[in-house]
């Protein structure tokens, strides 16, 4: 275990995780909105937002897949110390964390079962930046339309076609987070 692994967690877990969850809830409930979350200092290459999301949602009962550069000893140690989430293959993961290219092909991830669509993966996709323009989003949580700089549209259109099955996605960049549940319809513009 590296010394850094012990640092960078919440200093006041119950209040910090409550505040961060509320932002994540708003992000997932209003696809395309970009929210700010704080409270953790995870090791590189993780963003603050990705680290906070893990602290809020992952624990020993959830399997975590680290993809690409995120799958390194310092991140593994940090995740193990602060969340206790067991690492897993992409196919078995409840949460998967990495850049979009590292997570590919995303058809590997769990989409739930017809009688239990909730048993599906949530992807935490590390991005360089989040911006409210790009592909057009419509569906639950969106009054008319929203826009978000998604890394691509085809994979999310394919995922929407599986509804009510499908994975759900959180996009993270620095201390910003946005959500894209499986229910969102995505169109390139």
């Amino acid at each position: 275990m590296t010394a850094h692994a012990l640092e960078g967690g919440f200093t006041e877990a119950s209040v910090q995780s409550a505040r961060a969850f509320r932002e994540i809830l708003e992000a997932m409930a209003r696809p395309g909105t970009i929210r700010k979350i704080a409270g953790a200092q995870p090791p590189a290459p993780l963003s603050i937002a990705a680290g906070v999301a893990l602290l809020v949602l992952a624990d020993p009962t959830t399997r975590l897949h680290l993809a690409g550069d995120a799958d390194c000893p310092v991140v593994r140690d940090w995740v193990a110390f602060h969340t206790g989430a067991p690492l897993a293959s992409a196919e078995d993961a409840d949460f998967a964390l990495g850049t979009w290219s590292a997570l590919h092909p995303v058809s590997r991830f769990r989409i739930g079962q017809p009688d239990y669509p909730d048993r599906s993966a949530t992807l935490i996709v590390e991005c360089d930046r989040l911006a409210p323009h790009g592909p057009c989003l419509t569906g639950p949580g969106i009054e008319t339309a929203a826009w978000l700089n998604l890394p691509e549209t085809a994979a999310f259109r394919a995922n929407r076609a599986l509804f009510p099955l499908g994975f759900d996605t959180l996009f993270t960049a620095g201390d910003r987070i946005a959500g894209l549940p499986r229910s969102t319809r995505v169109e390139a513009i």
């Binding site: 009688d115 969106i142 009510p164």
Partner: protein, 287 residues
């Protein structure tokens, strides 16, 4: 200040994480009932332990919590839940719908329209809308999977055959985004139109039945009906006797033992707000 004998908002962190994951999956699949491992709460099941757990998982310091029981802020149930979160989460409380950031409700949707940034948490006794047709959980789960909602329509149509109209007046089922049939909890069907296209986040918690489900903002929730018998939101054909409101949901109150009665808004904050603005009903007194 919060009571230091408890974790923030009473529940331990692992329980809140589990509930929060269930809420997010509920948001992702609107109207679908997500199972969760309900915890014992220091209050009886009839007091909305499902709603209380959802509220506990959502609250942040700085929230202003409103709790209503059939529209009223001052019942024992509402007062107890409000005090519970004042003590365990140190949140502010309010009776004004417009000032609340989180509203926990038993059996009503406030008359005052909700807004973005607000969360409405429903206490749900029986989350499964198909339960009265089919007692087996494995079967109802299958019916939702296959969108086998024909029996539900048959039941509603039997109402029409028997009563000339759909008699179901509470917990009137809705279809969410054309997919899942959902029980909106025992709200009067008068409230059903407010479920749909609502700018607030609506979360539903059933403690004994261990289910959480959700309507994200702006989600479509259509009350089941028939072309020849379209859905109508109904209320008593009166105005509020205290504030004169014509379009609010009314409770009938017996005023004496000689059969005297009056109709008053079920939403006490709404009624008081109207009276404060000078509206006076048949039996009201000018403020």
């Amino acid at each position: 200040m919060t009571d230091q004998a408890y974790n923030f908002a009473y529940l331990d962190e692992q329980t809140k994480r589990m509930i929060r994951r269930a809420i997010l999956k509920g948001i992702a699949v609107p109207g679908y009932q997500v199972p969760f491992a309900s915890r014992e709460m220091p209050m009886p099941y009839g007091w909305g332990t499902g709603g209380v757990q959802v509220t506990a998982a959502c609250l942040v310091p700085g929230d202003r919590l409103k709790v209503i029981d059939q529209g009223a802020d001052d019942t024992t149930n509402a007062v107890s839940i409000r005090r519970f979160f004042q003590r365990t989460a140190g949140v502010g409380v309010t009776e004004a719908t417009a000032e609340a950031t989180v509203i926990q409700t038993r059996h009503r949707i406030p008359e005052t329209p909700l807004a973005e940034g607000q969360i409405l948490v429903y206490q749900v006794p029986i989350p499964e809308p198909l339960r009265f047709l089919e007692p087996r959980e494995t079967e109802t789960r299958k019916m939702h999977e296959l969108e086998e909602y024909g029996l539900m329509h048959v039941k509603l149509y039997e109402d029409i055959a028997r009563h000339g109209q759909i008699a179901t007046s509470y917990a009137y089922p809705v279809k969410v985004e054309g997919r899942y049939v959902m029980d909106p909890s025992p709200i009067p069907r008068f409230d059903n139109p407010k479920l749909s296209g609502n700018p607030a986040i609506q979360l539903f918690g059933a403690g004994r039945e261990q289910r959480i489900y959700a309507l994200p903002p702006w989600t479509e929730a259509v009350s089941l009906d028939f072309e020849d018998h379209p859905f109508h939101a109904t209320k008593a054909p009166h105005d509020c006797d205290l504030c004169g409101a014509k379009h609010s949901y009314l409770d009938e109150v017996i005023t004496d033992d000689t059969g005297g009665r009056m109709f008053v808004c079920s939403d006490t904050d709404f009624c008081a707000g109207r009276r404060a603005k000078g509206h006076v009903g048949r039996l009201g007194e000018a403020a």
